[in-house]
Symmetry: none
Amino acid sequence: MVNTIFDQLRQQEKENRRFAIVDVAEKILHDKGLEAVTIRNVAKMAGLSSGSMYMYFKNKEELLLCMLVQNLKVLKKDMDTCMDNQNPMEAIKKMAYHYKSYFIRFGKYINILSFTIREDSGFNNLNPEMVKELKDILSKLLALVQETLSAPPMKGALKGLPPERCVPVLWALIQGLVQITIPAPTPEDTFFDFDQLLEDVTHILI
Amino acid sequence: MVNTIFDQLRQQEKENRRFAIVDVAEKILHDKGLEAVTIRNVAKMAGLSSGSMYMYFKNKEELLLCMLVQNLKVLKKDMDTCMDNQNPMEAIKKMAYHYKSYFIRFGKYINILSFTIREDSGFNNLNPEMVKELKDILSKLLALVQETLSAPPMKGALKGLPPERCVPVLWALIQGLVQITIPAPTPEDTFFDFDQLLEDVTHILI
Amino acid sequence: MVNTIFDQLRQQEKENRRFAIVDVAEKILHDKGLEAVTIRNVAKMAGLSSGSMYMYFKNKEELLLCMLVQNLKVLKKDMDTCMDNQNPMEAIKKMAYHYKSYFIRFGKYINILSFTIREDSGFNNLNPEMVKELKDILSKLLALVQETLSAPPMKGALKGLPPERCVPVLWALIQGLVQITIPAPTPEDTFFDFDQLLEDVTHILI
Amino acid sequence: MVNTIFDQLRQQEKENRRFAIVDVAEKILHDKGLEAVTIRNVAKMAGLSSGSMYMYFKNKEELLLCMLVQNLKVLKKDMDTCMDNQNPMEAIKKMAYHYKSYFIRFGKYINILSFTIREDSGFNNLNPEMVKELKDILSKLLALVQETLSAPPMKGALKGLPPERCVPVLWALIQGLVQITIPAPTPEDTFFDFDQLLEDVTHILI
DNA sequence: CATGAATGAGACTTCATTCAT
DNA sequence: GATGAATGAAGTCTCATTCAT
């Protein structure tokens, strides 16, 4: 009931530890793939017992969702910085880079759709609040892109298509672009080059 | 030692059974999701013992890879039919539909990247021959698209970009397009509409 | 060392809190079943930390034992009120109702035998004092029944069997009666009807 | 499809092993109590891996249900032998003994009601066929008692109460009787004596 | 060839209990 | 006194894979 200063501290500490755990989980995700992201592994790497994991996350799904949200927040923040740019085309290119970074860091392993479109794929135990938070961030991201596309120099660039219809076009493009240019560990397995492709795309778009 | 007619028959039979098993696996994949694709489930549905599965596939991974190859073959065949089309733009739209179909049927569950870029994520035991076959089909697919883009009416359409550079642009676009328009079970969760988006994209491209 | 007035107060307060906790535990027991009666759940519902539970109960077993004792006390009190009744047969019927109430409230979930006959089944860490208290109440309950059976109108009712031998007969009957008439959630699964059965039993007895 | 002789053998063997496992489980139940009846413990004692337990039982609940059914079958068989008896009162006494034996062996630990009245108490995953079998045996048992009570010498014994209403009275009596005379490990903790009580009850009943 | 019983590691999760603060 | 974070053992269950028959 009483919200003592101590409670606040505790709350803060808990939040920090959640961050730390998510960081560890992300490292495992990146180093060994999604299958290696088990409660046990994460706990061990984070230096706690697997039982303790459940103090910070209701279950494994929540941990994953947390990772996604955290990554999206970073992405959002990165994208925000692009807004200052005078040249919207430049802004969009930068956004593409940020999305690439996000994708390689996280999106490559877990698709955002798994959470928003839950269907049956095992995500049923999620904290509704967190799901809401997720959808919020998503909306804001889309709004950001739309805003960029509505800026004067960009307006009408895409053959006069209204900005709200440009957004999905752009997103699809960037999403696909990033995906097919994911760098393989051995260069000869990497199909396409991101920078070249991005150049070509912007060339076509305007 | 001797390559009798019998050996050939056996070989052929084996191949047929592999097909049959893969079909079953695919049905399970689509009906119940990736998690339900277990060796046991597939074996039971196919009417053989789980032990026998290992006569046809070295591993579970190989089964999955086989599924991918089989699906890519279908995609390839579907795409081939688009070539006849007089109008390259129409051809490309049709290709997009075929890709969508492939994606919903298979690509949605298992990303091609998991196999080509193996890295770590658990695919280490693959038959190199099959991996080679996979890459072959992939190349052919890309060649097909490129061919379409090189046809006279299309030539120079994308702001004069040479066809080999148009291919990835197009692929990225379609890949992303399909991905972000995946229909959710509840309509209100489906973010964008495939047909609308496809319209807009083609409008912009030419 | 010195038994100050403060110590007494503390003692009293501790006792009160024990009561409160047991009440909470009972509510959980009835609402969600025995499995939900965990130290954590009880603590949370009672508004204290799980660690603090151990200030009031040596361990979980003791909490359960405490619940039993408290319920038996209520049963005893309820039964006491039956004594006033002029008609012993009526008194006995009322007792049966009280026992039924006790059974549905508590006995159904935790059998008294688990505590008195400890043997093995996990109850080894009990406070001997409490076990003694439990046995005391039990004795008093039996004495009560015997007293009722010794009252003039009842005397000799059960074919002249001496009261002390009637007690177990009666108890067995009531215990069994209550048990086999426990109401199932769906009426068609409830085997027998308590009231009817009670009628029949009394009809036979006298 | 084809029901070969081999399949039959296998079926039989599987059945036998189920029996064996149930036996082991029962031993554990009796020796260490219900809480000790874990899949792990049973598997270890039976000499298999815990994973293998799931070849024989869909889940833990099914194992328990199986134990119950098996025990009820024995009880039923035992009770059948009582029918020959010329004297129905003797038959009933013998039934009581058999029930006692069943109760000490099994009923004491797991109440039949837990299965038939499932409510929420954790039994939700049961094989409906087995539940049906359970209810069948139960019905037959009750029918048996009723038949005994309908035999001429018994007819009208219980103050003319019709046999179908005598059944629950009797069952309640025996159930309660057995329950309150359960022998404690230390004699001084055993409240009442079964034989004495049974004598008294029959004395009263007729 | 084919079978399916068996394995054993490992997944998630819960909970009574302890202990530094 | 009180707290609640942390533990660690134990629970149920699944699954790819092997191997005697």
